[in-house]
């Protein structure tokens, strides 16, 4: 099977481990949270409907071979009844999968050189690249070999799976930054220097979503030989300084915010110098030269690809060799390597097949929408349905020319999964209370610009009810189709005239009386239930350790408020066990484990009482005592460092030198065997032969063993006396 990238040698083992966890979960040996912590980094998410799952397949730069795609379709058909989905990171997503099948799918994918590892969670995600790399007439150079080679290296390194948060890398084949290098955690833009050498401009710490940021430029030009070293350094930097405690402040850009630009850059270069010294091998670039630059982009509305269409596309692509397919960041499919002479025929064939249309509003198919509230647990509005409504509206009407390059983006909530920050005109969902009830609403954003040294996010310029958006857009685009000059960029048109036009049109849609007249405002698009913001629960974009800990604290808090104090004790003591890699089979084991691992070490002995009471089933706890315990443990959690270590309690000095007496005295009560012997021995090494030492030892094993061992080493035990439940032993140092 011809493949695009090499899989890491230990992937098979990881899949088997994952499969075992599924079995353990099904036999109720581990709970849902534990499984989730492993499931998500393997690229498996739970859908909004419980017990159905989504699997994301890594496809670097959207490149997949024809034989892989063929097998992939067969695999999906076997396990799912749902369309394939192309993501904006050029991956393929499978939907409606049963939990036990997720592992089977991974095994089958392994055979065809594909992996789901890092499809989610705090990992190095699929590396993306410009849609037209290697086939564009005016690109600087093809970045695909770098995307593939860097992918191979990153997925081989185990630290790529345990980062503070997700880590996104992108490549662009030229200054227009069509691969969005300026808004990823790390981005490379192809460049050639005066000497004709290949290299990149490099951007770091960009990203959309909360506290979005355009990446800062750390290299204006750096040789292409440095790609790996830079990626490795950025990853190390993130690993070291990323905030592991608060996942909402964890992406690399938050390191930038907290360190400040100067310090951040300094720290990056510190890592970079270290990495360079390590002399890593250069990336193994494999050139996949194709003979023909001709290509056809097949629009896939919302990236949803039916099996039927997938097979039609496959049958065409097969004629142009293994390397003739690519998924694009705008969720379409490109068939490439088409000889110029065949292009028209192929187009006709595709039209006959119904894959493309003779004439249509291509911007509707290039439009991007996130999953939205229908499947995303964070979603507020049904963003996909809105895009469908827009499409329906435009397709009933005539064709708008001059708008092919328009980028429409829609997100169901302020998280920018639909990339609304990069839109020429875009929307993101919110809920607005009108007449005492919530209405699905969107903010309007517009005017984004993307390119080296140019990237600027779209600005928020107004808000509008979901229901009004198709009409609003029709109004605006009818005007722009006439007024936007040929070859004028949308960002330029926006500045010159578009902005004014939008502001004017919005006014028409903001009459409050509309809402009482038309009850449709209270329904989201194509939804028969009235809009509500209930049941919009936390999503699982990055399940991990901290989620599990936070979850336990939340439960404990809830139990305290419900006065279920012994349950609270369970959750308080369970919360941090995971940091020590401790597995709990029964919830009621956690207080015992907590006592063994935390009390006396990191948490004051006085809380041992609570645990004793719990163990002895004396459950007459008092609320204040449990609250204090809760606060103590939470305080400890806040002191945890990035390597999951906790500060140790200062031990009381147990050594006392008794004044007036010549002999040295040590209290080794509470020190277990054989450590009490080791410590005694070490003290004896510090005194001269014939000198004496007095020690205290516990009853039982210590007093049975230590004196005998000391004699074995040639020391004399002069006297041993029992005092209450411990012993005083007098030793004379021997030879």
């Amino acid at each position: 099977m011809q493949t695009i990238y090499e899989l890491p040698p230990n992937l098979e083992k990881e899949i088997i481990e994952y499969e075992n966890l599924i079995h353990e979960y099904e036999n109720e040996k581990i709970d849902k949270q534990k499984l989730r912590a492993h499931r998500v980094p393997m690229g498996v998410y739970e859908q909004r409907i419980d017990d159905t799952f989504m699997v994301r397949v890594r496809i670097p730069g959207g490149n997949i071979t024809v034989s892989q795609f063929k097998e992939l379709i067969n695999i999906v058909k076997k396990y799912s009844d749902k369309d394939l989905h192309i993501t904006t990171r050029q991956e393929i997503q499978l939907h409606n999968i049963k939990l036990e099948d997720t592992a089977k799918i991974m095994k089958e994918l392994l055979k065809i050189g594909l992996s789901t590892r890092g499809g989610g969670g705090n990992t190095v995600r699929n590396i993306i690249g410009s849609h037209d790399s290697g086939i564009s007439e005016n690109e600087i150079f093809d970045i695909t070999p770098y995307v593939v080679a860097l992918t191979e290296r990153m997925i081989q390194e185990s630290d790529s799976w345990t980062l503070p948060r997700k880590f996104k890398i992108a490549f662009s084949n030229g200054p227009d930054d069509t691969g969005y290098a300026t808004v990823n955690d790390l981005g490379f833009i192809a460049k050639i220097n005066e000497k004709g050498e290949k290299g990149f401009a490099v951007y770091i710490a960009g990203g959309m979503g909360a506290n979005s940021n355009v990446g800062i430029k750390i290299f204006d030009f750096v040789s292409d030989k440095e790609v790996y070293n830079i990626a490795k350094s950025a990853k190390n930097l993130f690993d070291k300084y990323g905030n592991r405690k608060n996942r909402h402040k964890a992406r690399l850009r938050f390191v930038l915010y907290s360190l400040g630009r100067e310090e951040f850059i300094k720290k990056f270069f510190e890592e970079y110098e270290k990495v360079k010294k390590q002399n890593f091998n250069e990336l193994k670039l494999r050139d996949v030269q194709i003979q023909n630059k001709g290509f056809i982009e097949i629009p896939i509305f919302l990236g949803d690809l039916s099996f039927e269409n997938a097979e039609k596309i496959l049958s065409v692509a097969q004629r142009f060799g293994e390397n003739s397919l690519r998924f694009t960041p705008r969720q379409n499919i490109i068939i490439k390597n088409i000889p110029e002479k065949d292009k028209e025929n192929i187009k006709e064939e595709l039209i006959k097949n119904g894959l493309i249309k003779n004439a249509y509003n291509i911007f509707l198919y290039n439009a991007v929408s996130c999953a939205g509230a229908s499947t995303c647990r964070l979603g507020i509005c049904l963003s996909k349905n809105l895009l469908k409504a827009i499409k329906d509206k435009f397709e009933q009407n005539s064709l708008l020319l001059n708008l092919d390059d328009l980028k429409i983006n829609i997100s169901g909530c302020p998280n920018s999964c639909g990339q609304h920050l990069l839109a020429d005109i875009g929307f993101f969902g919110k809920a607005k209370k009108i007449n005492g009830k919530y209405v699905p609403f969107y903010y309007i954003v517009a005017g984004a610009e993307v390119g080296e040294d140019k990237t600027k996010f779209a600005e928020k310029i107004g808000e509008i009810a979901a229901l009004d958006i198709p009409d609003f857009l029709m109004d605006f685009l009818n005007i722009s189709a006439k007024e936007k000059r040929p070859n004028e960029k949308w960002s330029e048109y926006y500045k010159r005239d578009g902005r004014e036009k939008i502001l004017n049109i919005i006014k028409k849609y903001s009459y409050m009386e509309n809402f009482s007249k038309n009850k449709n405002y209270y329904f989201d698009w194509y939804d028969d239930k009235e809009f509500s913001i209930l049941n919009k629960i936390e999503g699982e974009c990055s399940a991990g350790l901290f989620d599990l800990i936070d979850y336990d604290f939340k439960l404990a808090d809830q139990m305290i408020s419900e006065n279920k104090l012994s349950d609270a004790v369970i959750y308080i003591s369970r919360a941090l066990l995971i940091t020590k890699g401790l597995e709990i089979k029964n919830d009621s084991d956690s207080p015992v484990l907590f006592k063994e691992n935390f009390i006396g070490k990191h948490i004051d002995e006085k809380y041992a009482n609570i645990i004793e009471n719990f163990i002895n089933k004396k459950r007459d706890f008092n609320v204040d005592e449990i609250k204090e315990f809760y606060n103590e443990v939470k305080k400890l959690y806040n002191q945890m460092d990035n390597s999951l270590r906790f500060p140790e309690l200062k031990k009381d000095e147990k050594e006392v030198k008794i004044k007036g007496e010549e002999i040295l005295f040590k209290d080794f009560r509470g020190v277990p065997c054989p450590l009490n012997f080791v410590k005694t021995k070490l003290v004896l090494e510090t005194i001269n032969i014939g000198e004496k030492l007095k020690i205290l030892l516990d009853d039982g094993e210590p007093i049975e063993n230590v004196p005998a061992s000391l004699k074995g080493e040639g020391h004399k035990v002069l006297k041993q006396t029992k005092i209450e439940n411990y012993w005083e032993v007098l030793i004379e140092k021997g030879v």
């Binding site: 002399n279 890593f280 012997f677 070490l682 090494e685 074995g712």
Partner: protein, 268 residues
């Protein structure tokens, strides 16, 4: 060095030995050991030395980790592929014991750099896989009066001995490099990982005993193992009066590399 509570816990199983104790632990901590080659022999040796608390471990190796190494070079993991071996080894050593000071040399030992490299170390472990290197280490250590542990492995066989100044040396047994073809080349020979593991561990053990100054070392004694028959034996040998480097009329007076067909494959 002052042993803190964690040190006492960490090393308790060896401090407890009469022959080690706190003083011995301190000797180990003050010791500096150089491992030549982070390969099949150097891997177990390095890991054991780190775990025992040898304060300074030097590693010299010019190679990067290759997939064929992983079968026996247990200090390197799959995630280290392509990384410099000295880096990978340092990471593992630090992971076992963060207090160890690691000195890395990403280069091959040769006649020019050997004297300055070994000069500050108390003991040298020869973990190389080729004759020129073994003769080079022997000659330099004899001339500079450095103790070292020699070892060789091939197929199921392994051998090792320890040299201290005044004791017999490698050339006392093998005065010259073997001519081409007498000893099979690495590609023909092959090796089982645990053979390297056992011999490398013996080397670590000799190093620790030397530093502590306890027990009988493999001085003038060659430890020979055949793993196929599972046969271990000791062959006594003497200092050779005719030895070209440590004999009565030595002909070798300077450090020099001697030619011998070098293995085509990567160094072990």
């Amino acid at each position: 060095m002052i042993l803190d509570d964690n040190d006492i816990l960490r090393y308790s199983r060896q401090i407890i030995l009469k022959e080690v104790g706190g003083k011995g632990q301190e000797k180990l901590f003050n010791a500096k050991v150089l491992i030549v080659g982070a390969g099949g022999l150097g891997s177990p040796a390095g890991l054991y030395l780190a775990a025992s608390g040898i304060g300074t471990v030097g590693i010299i190796d010019g190679d990067n980790v290759d997939l064929t190494n992983l079968q026996r070079q247990i200090i390197h993991f799959s995630s280290d592929l392509n990384k410099a071996k000295v880096e990978s080894a340092e990471e593992k050593i630090k992971a076992i014991n963060p207090k160890i000071n690691v000195i890395k040399y990403k280069e091959r030992l040769n006649a020019e750099n050997i004297a300055s490299t070994i000069k500050d170390f108390d003991f040298i472990i020869d973990g190389t896989d080729n004759f020129p290197a073994k003769f080079l280490i022997n000659d330099a250590c004899v001339l500079l009066k450095k103790p070292f542990s020699h070892a060789g492995i091939l197929r199921f066989d392994g051998q090792t001995f320890t040299h201290i100044p005044g004791g017999a040396c490698y050339r006392c047994i093998f005065p010259e490099l073997p001519p081409k073809g007498v000893i099979p080349s690495c590609s023909e020979a092959g090796i089982l990982g645990p053979v390297a593991g056992i011999i490398g561990s013996v080397q670590a053990l000799e190093t620790i005993k030397f530093i502590l100054g306890i027990g009988n070392l493999l001085i003038n004694r060659l430890f020979i193992m055949n793993a196929f028959e599972m046969n271990f034996r000791i062959v006594n040998f003497k200092k050779n009066k005719e030895c070209p480097i440590c004999g009565e009329n030595p002909s070798i007076k300077e450090i020099k590399e001697y030619e011998q067909p070098v293995c085509e494959l990567k160094r072990n």
